[in-house]
């Protein structure tokens, strides 16, 4: 099959490798090396989508990441489909399937196109103005907007692709593989710098690699020939890493940069299998060289958005790089010399050039003279006032410009053309520089914002076109000079380079080109994707918007997926002109990362599914799994929650477990509690300072409960600490608080009390804890450790024994969080599952019942024991918790002591912990429910809330803990807990519901 628009001598395209693809269902062909855009153009397809607001037909306009129109959906697999892909960037592969976005029912007949006819009714801010009111109509508007607009479809199923992250450190990072980037990479790597060169295209060389023009030579060869040789050479340099298809996404402080490498997006689905799709590079570079080039500007004139109207530089790339003619009768419209290079490229390839329309009075540069030799008609001092053609440009109408450029004069000339190249000068890509915190300066000669060398935050330079050099001679000489200085290089291979180019001498700029019609009757598009026109910007200014950021949001200029790369400058220019402000003072809108969109996949990398966060499992975890435990997440820990038997509900399981633990014996995996080993001659003094109670007199072998406060006097953590030796303690913390408690203790030791001889080591994972509780716990322990004398005299409550199980050392504490006679066996984690199973065997005759965290919570609530973080919320003092007994009033100081008698903490109307009983003992309160006194009060005063609530099987009634204003004084008083459809009557009680005399501890 031959393609009549294809030239077959381009080495960047492999014409022996024909690829089939589908666009909107139609089967087409292209070649290896094509982008989707070049393949479509080779098939004479310009119309690829509809604009966002007016649904006007839009065509391929550029050849790069600045593309506003050719945005397609790739594939229709529900887990792999990819929206908002730029046809100008995606490389063609066998079987590629693409669909136009933003048109319904299809791209050629679009119902939304009626908005185009309604466009006088759709001015700037239309959506803000219209859909704001009435609010109740919003749902209807939203349906309309979402149905007729919207960009692309998200995949509906999980992404099966693999993404990767890579950390990379280098001396010098060069961003951009155009001519200046290549030079910089060679200079850097050639001078002993570990160098990384990134380029977002599939091959290096930027625009110079296909610049094949007699007007531009290096060392007497065409620039492309010279650059090709240069690229071959740098590939041999040892300490240079080159990554193509890798786009820089973000430039953060301290030269930390993110780049996305496309690994398989250009391969056919078969070739992709099992491979990583994209890799996010996290780069730390000592020095950064930005060589990101420039983007050609469009021109803003009436109906400048028709399919077939393209950037002149894009036409040149399509013909010189891809070998694709974008039309048969091409016109060029320009305000500078660049379009003349395109003209020569087209002429060489045998494309007919209808004419060149140039708004300048004349130009006598080398390249213009070259074009004149080809007898191409040039209309100097002319502008396009209108274009025709609905799905493809067919005619242009041109007129002569008035002397001041504000209007048009003379006769209208109509020219037939099927493709129009526009060239409005160049915009340096300063995005990365500004992302890094750099400030811009304005060059008024050609209206460009450039990096201000004096306002550069990190070790970096910008070179080449992104630094405002557009002439190849300037680019080469300046890049050489700047890189040498930046890297401290004395001699460069480029010092005696001979460069010839066509110097541009004449410049002229008109932001909004005039028409013979008044502006109200024209459509000069600024933002092609979001359909905002010069008219919209002017309207916004008339309505009082002054800040560029506000105008942007009001008109949505620059807010599309292309982020206004193409025409933000024109919006700025028009604002400056209309308001009479200097463009440099106006400044730009903020350039935010990412430069081009990043996939979520690349951002999260491998951290998906079970790798999203660490999961911590206890040594007995597999036993819990085998015994059908349901698990609860506590921080990163998986804790056994309850063990349902025979399809029991959670409620039934917890009731059964709670009863068994009090009636016979229960067993709990308490391994997740934080354990901190404390040693040193000042260990006792240290505990005195961090806990509210006194520790010096605690005998060796004894345990004590401690409450830890923040310096503000609020309860922070609690737990039992055991004195193992003269200078040796083991502290337990809550499961969730373990890491923070350790950090806090280390902080005090290192910064406030460095004189204390104390060492802290976390041993949470080293020891596992098995808690056996209930009247038969003694029997279990004596079976598991027969040698241990567990008489009350030898081993009383709140004491500890060193012991051995089958020769393995263990620590046994007699402590209780349930109010029952209980033991905790601490043993090295490797043996813990075995010991757990020994306990289960020993308890067979006593119906030993494994219980989970829910039962533990219920049992402690029966005893009125608090859980920090559930009954406390960082605003409760010990006194608020009715725990004044634990304050060592005689102690000189401890963390938080002084705060316990601040004016605020001694108020007696603070929220205080109370017990609550429902008048109906079957009624269970909801945790978090509010407590009120008067039901008819408006607004009703909320006195407190329920913090813990359970049905107690051991008391056969509902119990709850709550915090209430002045709670200590409320015992016996009645209140209401209002719920959605009833008010529950409650009475305030003591916080201890079960075994108030603590008889069972020694039962």
């Amino acid at each position: 099959m031959t393609q009549e628009l294809r030239i077959n001598n381009k080495k960047f395209i492999d014409q022996t490798n024909r690829l089939s693809f589908k666009f909107n269902g139609e089967k087409l062909y292209g070649y290896k090396g094509d982008t989707l855009a070049s393949a479509l153009l080779a098939n004479n397809i310009h119309l690829v989508g509809r604009s966002f607001k007016y649904h006007r037909p839009r065509g391929i306009m550029t050849c790069g990441s600045e593309e506003p129109n050719a945005i397609v959906q790739i594939g229709n697999d529900p887990s792999l489909t990819d929206p908002n892909v730029r046809a100008t960037e995606i490389e063609l592969y066998e079987g590629l399937e693409a669909f136009s976005q933003n048109c319904w029912p299809n791209v050629k007949f679009d119902i939304g196109g009626i908005n185009n006819l309604l466009s006088p009714l759709l001015p700037a801010g239309f959506y803000y103005k219209t859909f704001m009111w009435p609010a109740s109509f919003w749902e209807k508007y939203e349906f309309f907007i979402r149905h007729s607009a919207g960009l692309g479809k998200s995949p509906t199923k999980p992404d099966p692709d693999i993404y990767d992250h890579k950390y990379y450190h280098c001396d010098v990072l060069v961003v951009g593989g155009g001519i200046s980037g290549i030079m910089a990479a060679k200079l850097s790597a050639g001078n002993n710098n570990e160098t990384l060169l990134l380029d977002d295209k599939n091959i290096l060389g930027g625009t110079t690699i296909y610049q094949n023009n007699d007007c531009f030579t290096i060392d007497d060869n065409h620039t492309n020939y010279w650059l090709e040789k240069e690229i071959k050479n740098i590939k041999k340099i040892k300490n240079l890493t080159i990554k193509t298809r890798t786009s820089l996404a973000a430039y953060h402080g301290y030269n930390y940069l993110l780049a996305k490498e496309n690994i398989t997006d250009h391969l056919s689905p078969d070739e992709r299998k099992g491979k990583i799709r994209q890799r996010l590079w996290k780069i730390r570079a000592k020095k950064v060289i930005i060589a990101t080039g420039a983007i050609e500007r469009p021109l803003i004139f009436n109906n400048n958005d028709r399919p077939g109207i393209m950037l002149s530089s894009a036409i040149k790339k399509f013909i010189d790089f891809y070998g694709v003619k974008t039309g048969k009768e091409i016109s060029l419209f320009t305000n500078n010399d660049s379009a003349y290079e395109t003209a020569i490229s087209l002429k060489k390839s045998g494309v007919n050039i209808v004419s060149i329309i140039d708004i300048r009075d004349e130009s006598s540069s080398k390249i213009v003279k070259e074009v004149e030799k080809h007898n191409i008609k040039i209309y100097w001092k002319h502008t396009i006032v209108n274009t025709e053609g609905y799905r493809r440009i067919s005619f242009i109408e041109i007129m002569q410009l008035s002397d001041d450029g504000s209007g048009v004069i003379g006769k209208k000339i109509k020219l037939k053309t099927d493709c129009l190249g526009i060239s409005g000068g160049w915009t340096p890509m300063v995005h990365l520089f500004t992302q890094s915190g750099g400030k811009l300066k304005f060059r008024s000669d050609d209206n460009v914002f450039l990096p201000d060398k004096n306002k550069t935050p990190s070790d970096q330079i910008s070179i080449g076109s992104c630094n405002g050099d557009f002439d190849i001679k300037d680019i080469i000489l300046n890049s050489n000079k700047y890189v040498k200085t930046f890297l401290g290089i004395e001699n460069s291979p480029y010092d005696n380079i001979k460069v010839e180019s066509s110097k541009e001498e004449k410049k002229k700029n008109i932001w909004l080109l005039p028409s013979d019609k008044p502006i109200g009757k024209t459509k000069p598009f600024l933002d092609f994707q979001n359909d905002s026109t010069a008219k919209d910007v002017k309207l916004a200014l008339r309505e009082g918007f002054k800040s560029i950021e506000h105008v942007k949001r009001y008109t949505t200029t620059g807010m599309g997926t292309d982020q206004g790369k193409l025409s933000n400058m024109h919006a700025l220019g028009i604002i400056a002109e209309t308001t009479g402000t200097n463009m440099g003072e106006l400044g730009t809108t903020t350039f935010r990362p990412p430069y081009t969109p990043l996939t979520f996949g690349a951002i999260v990398g491998r951290n998906v599914g079970e790798f999203f966060d660490h999961t911590r499992k206890t040594a007995m975890h597999n036993w819990h799994v085998q015994n059908k435990a349901q698990f609860e997440n506590v921080g990163q820990w998986k804790r056994a929650w309850y063990y349902p038997k025979n399809g029991e509900s959670m409620y039934d399981a917890v009731q059964r477990e709670s009863k068994a633990a009090r009636e016979s014996v229960g067993i709990l995996d308490a391994s997740t509690l934080g354990k901190i080993d404390i040693q040193g001659t000042d260990a006792s003094e240290f505990l005195n300072r961090v806990y509210t109670n006194a520790w010096s007199k605690l005998a060796i072998g004894k345990c004590r409960y401690g409450l830890m406060l923040n310096e503000d006097g609020m309860v922070y953590d609690d737990g039992v600490t055991t004195r193992l030796g003269e200078n040796h303690y083991i502290m337990t913390t809550t499961t969730g608080g373990a890491a923070n408690v350790l950090s806090k203790l280390e902080d005090y030791l290192q910064t406030e009390w460095p004189e204390l001889d104390v060492y802290l080591t976390t041993v949470t994972d080293h020891f596992s804890t098995i808690s056996i509780c209930g009247p038969n716990s003694k029997k279990i322990l004596s079976k598991v450790i027969p040698d241990l004398d567990i008489s009350d005299q030898n081993f009383p409550h709140m004491s500890f024994k060193n012991s051995k199980i089958n020769g393995i050392k263990c620590r046994v504490m007699r402590i209780s969080f349930t109010g029952e006679h209980s033991y905790e066996i601490n043993i090295q984690s490797n043996y813990a599952k075995n010991v757990w199973e020994m306990c289960m065997n020993a308890g067979k005759d006593y119906n030993i019942t494994p219980y989970g965290t829910e039962t533990m919570h219920l049992l402690r609530a029966e005893k009125g024991f608090i859980i920090t973080g559930q009954d406390t919320d960082g605003t409760m003092t010990p006194s608020d918790l009715q725990m004044d007994w634990i304050i060592g009033k005689k102690k000189f100081d401890f963390i938080g002591k002084r705060s316990l008698y601040r004016s605020d903490t001694i108020r007696d109307d603070r929220k205080q912990l109370v017990g609550l009983l429902t008048d109906d003992p079957k009624e269970i309160l909801e945790e978090g429910a509010q407590i009120v006194e008067k039901l008819d009060q408006k607004p009703v005063e909320m006195l407190g809330h329920v913090t813990s609530s359970y049905f107690s099987p051991n008391l056969n009634k509902s119990i709850a803990l709550a915090v209430m204003k002045s709670g200590k004084k409320l015992k016996g008083k009645k209140f209401f807990v209002p719920m959605e459809n009833k008010n529950i009557n409650v009475t305030v009680t003591d916080t201890v519901f079960f075994d108030k005399e603590n008889k069972r501890l020694n039962a």
């Binding site: 953060h252 402080g253 301290y254 930390y256 730390r284 915190g437 935050p457 310096e711 503000d712 950090s743 280390e746 902080d747 290192q750 910064t751 406030e752 460095p754 000189f892 100081d893 002591k897 002084r898 705060s899 601040r902 004016s903």
Partner: protein
């Protein structure tokens, strides 16, 4: 994300550290002798400077040592790093 030169380990990524707020706030030796206002001054009052700020940092995912940093909060430039107990190398 900046790089912090831990005085014990050397240059490491910011993600390895946690910030501990303003530096050189000494815990009073005898808190019980302070008025509410004096205690509140220690407990609550912190500067939040745009510019040069003296801060505490902890190498929490490294050596776990606390140390001090002099940082310009307006551009994250770190001017000095010094150990706990040492005098600030730049004027405070």
């Amino acid at each position: 994300m900046f790089i912090i030169n831990c005085p014990y380990c050397g240059e490491r990524d910011q993600t390895e550290f946690s910030s501990g707020g303003e530096a050189h706030i000494v815990r009073p030796k005898q808190p019980t002798e302070l008025s509410d206002d004096e205690w509140a001054e220690f407990l609550f009052m912190r500067k939040n400077i745009k510019g040069i700020q003296f801060e505490r940092w902890n190498h929490s995912h490294g050596c776990r040592k606390w140390f001090n940093v002099v940082r310009d909060t307006s551009n994250d430039k770190i001017h000095a790093v010094y150990k706990m107990g040492e005098k600030p190398p730049v004027n405070k």
